[in-house]
């Protein structure tokens, strides 16, 4: 069986999928990146090689996410693509006619506008936590609620509390205030979802024309409370694709498949990379006052790639 691997290394989670020629997900793995992207990628590959049927052979690999270059260097990827394009490719294939993609992940959120199947506009929020999953995560932990229960509890609310959502720091103090006033837990959680949605639409979604069908994906789409809050704010139905939290990886796999069909070869190093001991070292280059932080990835004595410099001094191409 011909399969294609997609790897999405984000700040919070690392997703690896294998898809076949008909976009079926053959195997998938979801790992917390936990600040160690190399380990996460290796662990992902290990899980995939265990889960996949023996006849499934990898014909091409694509990587995406904020550590896409790193993942590509380790695994030997054929396509390295930014996460916006990867998400758009996956959604436009799996959600027919999609015109708006709302993606809320652990530490970033995006909006992608498509018209006639082509991306026509996008926006991305990376520095502010107020519109992302980490904030929900953190508040759930503070309230002692498992994150997977969050949505179910929020759905019970009949009267959500209005919470200031502009900034996660203000939101937290406002929430504490409301909680001390005696509001019910479900109303607080529903209010938090609405605050997050409001912030997302006012910030990332500003000036964008949101037309249906709307796809909602990324880790936060698991939260039913968020889906409800989005539908309420937009006044339209929101579709959550089956593999909502793997969409980036699926998109990367689709792009790898496209590439393979064009040139019929792969750089994939094989599943053995899980056993290689990659070392990462870094140093500050002092050749000029820019003081670039150079990162080296090496196997034993050999540096396989370096990056981080503003000039070409330390560059070796990530390919081999």
């Amino acid at each position: 069986m011909r399969t294609y691997m997609g790897i999405d290394v984000g700040s919070v989670s690392t997703d690896v999928v294998l898809i076949d020629d008909d976009n079926n997900v053959i195997a998938s793995a979801y790992i917390r990146t936990a600040g160690q992207p190399i380990k996460a990628v290796q662990e992902g590959l290990r899980l995939i090689s265990r889960e996949k049927p023996p006849e499934a052979k990898v014909y091409a690999v694509g990587s995406t996410g904020s550590a896409r270059e790193l993942a590509a260097a380790i695994v030997g990827a054929d396509v390295v693509k930014n996460e916006i394009t990867a998400h758009a490719v996956a959604s436009s294939t799996l959600v027919p006619g999609v015109q708006t993609i709302i993606e809320i992940g652990g530490q970033d959120s995006k909006i992608i506008i498509l018209r006639n199947g082509v991306v026509s506009d996008f926006a991305m929020n990376t520095v502010c936590a107020a519109g992302t999953g980490s904030f929900l995560d953190q508040q759930a932990a503070r309230l002692g609620i498992p994150i997977n229960e969050f949505g179910k509890i929020a759905l019970k609310s009949k009267n959500s509390v209005r919470i200031a959502g502009r900034c996660s720091v203000f939101a937290e103090s406002d929430m504490i205030h409301k909680q001390q006033m005696g509001h019910k837990m479900e109303d607080l959680l529903a209010g938090l979802c609405e605050a997050l949605v409001r912030n997302y639409l006012n910030n990332v979604g500003k000036g964008k024309q949101i037309l249906p069908p709307v796809a909602f994906q990324g880790g936060v789409a698991a939260n039913e409370g968020m889906k409800k809050a989005l539908e309420k704010a937009l006044g339209m139905e929101v579709i959550i694709p089956k593999d909502y939290c793997l969409m980036g990886a699926i998109g990367a796999a689709m792009l790898a498949r496209k590439q393979e069909r064009e040139n019929g070869q792969t750089n994939f190093r094989g599943f053995d990379v899980t056993d290689i001991n990659y070392q990462v070292t870094s140093f500050e280059c002092t050749k000029c006052p820019n003081l670039c932080e150079i990162i080296c990835i090496s196997i034993g004595e050999n540096d396989i790639c370096r990056w981080g410099g503003r000039c070409e001094r330390w560059q070796i191409s990530g390919e081999k």
């Binding site: 916006i84 394009t85 082509v118 991306v119 506009d121 991305m124 006052p289 820019n290």
Partner: protein
């Protein structure tokens, strides 16, 4: 007396030659680095814009190197940059530096001030004729440097080996730097252009064309915009911008009608002067739309009001002219990865659009 001035692209070469030619010792402003930003952020108000912080940092660096006169440009209109000279002087004197600060405002703001500033620069024993000749040579240098900049922005997208055009460009700039007389500058420019045009290229490519608009300092200084023109060029894109040091000087001092066509283009969306290059960002985007450019990148310093005004208008221009616009807000926290990701995604968008249009026609 040691003179220094802010750094803005390669223009320091022209200003250096002018000041040296007039008999001053010059402290060349060092290329902008993390060190500049560190100084700048330490001594500037937190909500000042990035250009302000970088200038503060540059001034500290040149004062540390012994400069005792700093020449900077002022401005008129509602952008707070017009006030920056005064504020910089106050901050730097508070830190404890002793120096003379000269803010050159456009002559129409205050003709007498302008004249006095010129008198300060002109040595008394130098005849007006020779003074003007030196100014003319420096001006030629500046236009030659801008010309090379425009040329490489056109050529990078065609190069066979990534980075070759940039290398040729840097050599060409060094030719101009080593010229002395007007004639030598002209020759250096010709040689430099030849060098860039000789870089092995694939002329059959059909590169995307992207217009760059935004606030002048972040548009001109590559360090501020993470070398966006080179970045895009080496990703196979032709870039175009209408703001250059020499066009800015020409358009504020003697050729003041030159930008009317940009303002006319902006008029259906914005009639009011909003300071800085706000109205230009709108007008230029309209013009790029009319010229069938593939896209526009707006560069805005974080908290820059004129560009915020423009930014809120651009979605409408973008819809009306069917031209995608990407806005990048720039401040000292801007990460390179974030910029790269957005640019890659933007180019994917433009290429897909180009393909679809190609299939339709």
């Amino acid at each position: 007396m040691k003179i220094s001035f802010p750094r803005m692209g390669n223009s320091y070469i022209g200003f250096k030659h002018l000041c040296e030619g007039l008999g001053f010792e010059v402290v060349v402003p060092p290329s902008l680095t993390q060190k500049t930003i560190t100084y700048g952020a330490r001594y500037s108000p937190e909500f000042a814009c990035m250009p302000f912080k970088v200038l503060t940092g540059t001034y500290v660096e040149v004062l540390e190197k012994g400069a005792d006169v700093i020449i900077s440009s002022g401005g008129i209109g509602p952008c707070r940059a017009g006030f920056y000279g005064v504020l910089h002087e106050k901050i730097l004197k508070d830190i404890g530096y002793d120096f003379k600060f000269i803010v050159v405002d456009p002559p129409m703001a205050n003709l007498k001030d302008f004249y006095n500033n010129v008198l300060f620069l002109k040595p008394r024993n130098l005849k007006w004729g020779s003074f003007l000749k030196k100014v003319r040579t420096a001006w030629k240098m500046l236009t030659a440097l801008d010309g090379l900049d425009m040329l490489v922005a056109q050529r990078r997208a065609y190069e066979l080996k990534k980075g070759d055009t940039q290398k040729a460009f840097e050599t060409a700039v060094s030719y101009i730097d080593s010229a002395e007389t007007y004639k030598e500058v002209v020759e250096a420019e010709t040689e430099g252009r030849k060098l860039i045009e000789r870089v092995p290229c694939d002329e059959t490519r059909k590169p995307l064309r992207v217009g760059i608009v935004g606030e002048i300092y972040v548009v001109i200084e590559p360090f501020m915009n993470m070398d966006i023109e080179r970045r895009l060029g080496e990703m196979g894109v032709i870039t175009h911008r209408s703001i250059y040091v020499t066009t800015y000087v020409r358009h504020t001092i003697w050729d003041r009608k030159a930008e009317d066509y940009i303002k006319d283009a902006a008029r259906p969306y914005l009639k009011q002067m909003v300071g800085g290059h706000g109205i230009n960002s709108v007008g230029e985007t309209v013009l790029y739309g009319k010229d069938n450019y593939d896209g526009v990148v707006q560069l805005a310093p974080f908290t820059c009001i004129p560009e915020i005004v423009a930014r809120s208008i651009l979605p409408k221009v973008s819809r009306d002219y069917d031209i995608p616009v990407l806005t990048l807000h720039i401040d000292e926290q801007t990460g390179e990865t974030g910029v790269q990701t957005r640019l890659e995604a933007f180019l994917d968008l433009l290429r897909e659009k180009q393909k679809v249009l190609g299939e339709c026609s």
